[in-house]
């Protein structure tokens, strides 16, 4: 049940000095008040009850998690070989975004970050659209305008993120206030990082949420790092969740590598009554990969820490859980991976064949009706292009 973390005493913020012997905090989930459904082996821990997700929904989530992992593998290679300009890895975070999205209905609105392609796929966005975005082609919602992995699509009620991290926190809160004002029962979800909690936007959004009680679940995806900055340099609080108390916003910590736990707590918070307001959920997880393709984590973190977290891989845990339930086996697993890889290759082929946007499209969508200044500037560009050809 989403409720205030009763105490956070058990969990200590790490300082750089204390990080000598890395352990994954999920090991002591109960002591650390981290809500869990299953342990590293996919066995029920008895903390949160098994949500008993119907098999087809569960499989949809798992298959999407594998697809998302496969995309990350391939995206990295594409970047390293120069075929995409830039890559933001999301490996290790699949349980957070897939679990949370599963808890939401399609008309609900999701605001997400750059590490959450699973949100798109869970809602049925075609794979090729993702790759068209990665390749900056014209035929994707943003028309090739934005950095690879910064996605969204109104047709699926996924709002494009702001490139400035966290700036959408008050936007989602405002949108949810809008639903309240209009008397709609649309629900809202926002996912953002631990580092993003330091911005004034977090403060604004939480504060308005505490006063106006909009139907939002805020997930602070605590993946251990904001680029090279660990939690101890990001904030002095023991958890990110408890920041909710400062605004009268209900909050809790969940095992972010446990897709079932994420689903459970998000679902419960999503389904709260109209007057019950927002919930802040800290999802404890870990960024297994580089921050981006321009990063070098060896400069600031120990491989041992990565290794400690590897034992809690969200895909493996969910797979083991499903195997226990006889919903899954090695054969299915192999087939799934093969299918994902194949589909990705096909999507890449299709997307790479697409056109880049025409230069003059940079003027579109500035205003609903272009100003004369922009008309003039566009005309100059077109004349210039003519001169070129």
């Amino acid at each position: 049940m989403p409720s205030r973390t009763p105490t956070t005493k058990g969990r200590k913020t790490k300082t750089r000095e204390q990080e000598k012997l890395p352990v994954c905090p999920l090991q002591n989930a109960a002591a650390n008040n981290i809500r869990q459904v299953m342990d590293a082996e996919g066995k029920l821990t008895g903390d949160l009850p098994d949500p008993d997700i119907p098999p087809e929904k569960l499989l949809h989530m798992y298959e999407t998690m594998v697809m998302v992992r496969a995309i990350d593998d391939r995206g990295w290679l594409l970047q390293r070989s120069g075929r995409v300009e830039f890559w933001i890895p999301h490996c290790g975070l699949e349980a957070v975004h897939n679990g949370a999205t599963l808890a939401y209905e399609d008309p609900d609105w999701i605001f997400m970050g750059y590490r959450h392609p699973g949100v798109m796929l869970m809602r049925g966005v075609p794979l090729v659209q993702l790759f068209a975005q990665f390749f900056g082609r014209a035929d994707e919602p943003f028309k090739g305008r934005r950095l690879p992995t910064l996605m969204g699509d109104r047709r699926y009620n996924i709002v494009p993120m702001t490139t400035q991290v966290g700036s959408y926190i008050p936007h989602v809160c405002g949108a949810a206030m809008g639903a309240l004002i209009k008397g709609h029962d649309t629900k809202f979800l926002a996912i953002f990082g631990d580092g993003s909690s330091s911005r004034g936007e977090f403060h604004s959004g939480m504060n308005f949420a505490g006063v106006h009680k909009p139907p939002v679940v805020f997930i602070c995806e605590n993946n251990g790092w904001a680029i090279s900055t660990p939690q101890s340099l990001q904030t002095g609080s023991a958890t990110f969740a408890e920041k909710g108390d400062a605004y009268g916003v209900r909050n809790l910590v969940v095992d972010g590598n446990d897709a079932l736990a994420v689903y459970s707590v998000v679902k419960e918070a999503r389904d709260l009554g109209p007057d019950e307001g927002a919930t802040l959920i800290e999802a404890m997880t870990y960024r297994m990969g580089y921050h981006t393709s321009s990063d070098n984590p060896d400069l600031y973190r120990e491989q041992a820490e990565v290794d400690a977290w590897a034992a809690w891989d969200p895909l493996i845990r969910l797979r083991k859980y499903m195997e226990r339930k006889k919903l899954w086996n090695k054969k299915k697993e192999d087939a799934l991976w093969a299918r994902c890889k194949e589909e990705i290759s096909a999507a890449i082929k299709e997307a790479e064949a697409m056109d880049f946007p025409h230069p003059s499209t940079m003027f579109d969508d500035t205003f609903e009706e272009m100003t004369w200044m922009l008309e003039e500037q566009k005309a100059a560009l077109l004349a210039d292009l003519e001169d070129l050809s």
Binding site: W109, E140, P141, F142, K143, R145, R146, G152, D153, R154, R155, V159, P160, T162, Q164, S167, P170, H171, V172, C173, G174, A175, A176, M177, G178, A179, L180, I181, K182, T186, G200, E201, H203, S204, G205, N207, F208, V211, D364, D365, T366, F367, E368, E369, T371, W372, M373, L374
Partner: protein
């Protein structure tokens, strides 16, 4: 019927016109809401929203926490969801905290989403000096919002414009920055029909026709220009044409060019600081588009590049009729 208390004899003040514009817009469209610090029971610190809270309730007239960034950012969310928020910044001097959200969120969601989302909202920025407000409460902030496009900027200086521009701003499909003339709130009134008709964005007004020199201006300072023009008509026989821009983005190039081609002399006047004030853009464009017509260099009259001084700002910082007159004389008597 709107809530403004127009009296038969004096007409409607700018303040009442703004309130009437909001009230009519809220009557016409239930998606229009007002939010900001103290806009509710207090009616705003200038009382531009007196009575709206009582009339439309606390769901549509929202007192916010003290957080300008939050006000604009939540307005953006409301707009994304389909509402039409009017957000009030208590004094334009406090708008800067919301800079990122105004310029790079509100004015960018349409482009950044490939046209899927838009942010129709009105950001009210009570501006300008002459009220003994010191440097935070007398700011002219419009210039910061011109660079990088994406934002319409309106500046009414009559009650009728205030009313109709409020309606136009609310109806516009994109975000609009409404620069409100604080010094005129109560000092200027006029009679006009509150008929729900919106102004046309992008149309300047020639408020005085003349053949010798064009003064391009906007905001309350234009009444100082008028005084200077009257005086010069009497003392020197100079025939000054005055253009009230009314819209800064997109400004009315046709009206400016027609005037400049007629007079061959241009002065820009604003009370924002000189360097990179809107006069800079006007001068740059005019000299480019009307080079052959110019008899004299374009002169800019503006405040100096320092903050607004509490004790002496209203008299010596803000341009006044005398300084404007001197500039016109210099232009008229320019020799190489």
């Amino acid at each position: 019927m709107n809530i403004a208390t127009a009296t038969a004899d004096t007409g409607t003040t700018v303040l009442e016109a703004i309130k009437a514009g909001m009230s009519d817009a809220m009557d016409a469209d239930s998606d229009v809401i007002l939010m900001g610090e103290d806009v509710g029971l207090a009616g705003g610190i200038f009382r531009t929203s007196t009575g709206l809270h009582q009339r439309f309730g606390s769901k549509r007239v929202i007192d916010t926490p003290l957080d300008e960034k939050g006000i604009v950012a939540h307005g953006i969310g409301l707009a994304l969801y389909g509402l039409k928020p009017i957000v009030e910044i208590q004094f334009s001097g406090f708008i800067h905290d919301a800079f990122e959200h105004i310029m790079f969120c509100a004015a960018r969601y349409r482009w950044a989403s490939g046209g899927q989302y838009s942010c129709p909202m009105v950001i009210r920025a009570p501006s300008f000096g002459g009220i003994k407000g010191g440097f935070w409460h007398s700011q002219s902030v419009e210039a910061y919002f011109v660079h990088h496009g994406g934002m319409k900027i309106l500046c009414p200086s009559t009650p009728e414009d205030a009313y109709r521009m409020m309606l136009a701003a609310v109806q516009d499909p994109d975000p609009v920055l409404l620069i409100e003339p604080v010094p005129l709130y109560r000092s200027m009134s006029a009679k006009f029909e509150m008929d729900g008709k919106a102004a046309t964005i992008g149309e300047a007004k020639v408020t005085r026709t003349g053949s010798d020199v064009t003064v391009v201006t906007y905001g309350p300072i234009q009444y100082e220009v008028e005084k200077a023009a009257e005086e010069l008509a009497t003392t020197k026989g100079y025939d000054v044409e005055i253009i009230d821009l009314r819209t800064l983005i997109p400004y009315d190039m046709d009206t400016i060019l027609a005037s400049v081609k007629k007079t061959g002399r241009v002065i820009t006047v604003h009370e924002a600081p000189l360097s990179m004030g809107f006069g800079a853009e006007l001068a740059a464009v005019i000299q480019e588009k009307a080079f052959g017509y110019l008899h004299t260099p374009i002169q800019r009259v503006a405040a100096p590049d320092v903050p607004y001084h509490f004790s002496i700002g209203d008299e010596y910082y803000r341009p006044n009729a005398r300084r404007i007159r001197l500039a016109i004389e210099r232009t008229m008597e320019f020799e190489f």
